[in-house]
């Protein structure tokens, strides 16, 4: 998840706000993806009946595979976006210039 790495000039000693903002973007992205995996895999693997509080064997195995598959989908979609020349400004909302 390192596609946010724009070049950043180092301001020695002081705070390089551009670099901090890039780091924050990366954290936001990872955290957003994590939360989506938690939610998606809960929907896919956990039954809504809640007869017990522990994960049973089937649920546990399902979670492991679900997370792996989500990563795969993330990778495939990322490759497609890059192949399409998907640029932040371009694809996000191409005809949506404010």
């Amino acid at each position: 998840m390192s596609f946010l790495g724009r070049g950043a000039s180092t301001s020695n000693g002081g705070i390089n706000h551009e670099r901090l903002e890039m780091a924050m973007n990366e954290i936001e992205m990872v955290s957003d993806v994590f939360n989506r995996i938690v939610s998606s895999c809960h929907g896919k693997c956990i039954s809504n009946r809640y007869a017990e509080g522990d994960l049973n064997k089937g649920e546990s195995v399902c979670i492991d595979r679900c997370v792996a598959k989500f990563f795969d989908v993330n990778k495939k979609v990322g490759e497609k976006m890059q192949a399409a020349g998907a640029n932040a400004q371009a694809t996000g909302s191409s005809s949506f210039s404010l």
């Binding site: 973007n25 598959k69 989500f70 989908v73 993330n74 996000g92």
Partner: protein, 89 residues
């Protein structure tokens, strides 16, 4: 959006804020797209590998979503221009 009444420093500030928002929006759109296509296409967890059928579904889903977004964007811009037009002297 009409920023013509902004002075130079305000416009510079605004540009930075908008760029930041565009970056955040793009990231959110991207992870939302991944989630959407995962949810629609992946329903078999007897294996951890993406099947070729699932992969094809994901690719079509992503393709279609981007085309959908673009078309919505075109209509949105047109209707927005229409509704803004007469309201501004």
């Amino acid at each position: 959006m009409d920023f013509s009444q902004f002075n130079a420093s305000e416009q510079a500030h605004m540009t930075k804020i908008i760029e930041k928002k565009q970056m955040q929006d793009f990231m959110k759109m991207y992870s939302g797209l991944v989630e959407r296509c995962f949810t629609s296409c992946c329903n078999d967890f007897t294996s951890k590998a993406l099947s070729s059928k699932e992969e094809q579904c994901v690719m079509n889903c992503a393709d279609k979503f981007l085309k959908h977004s673009e078309r919505v964007g075109q209509r949105f811009a047109e209707l927005n221009a229409e509704s803004m037009g007469p309201a501004r002297p």
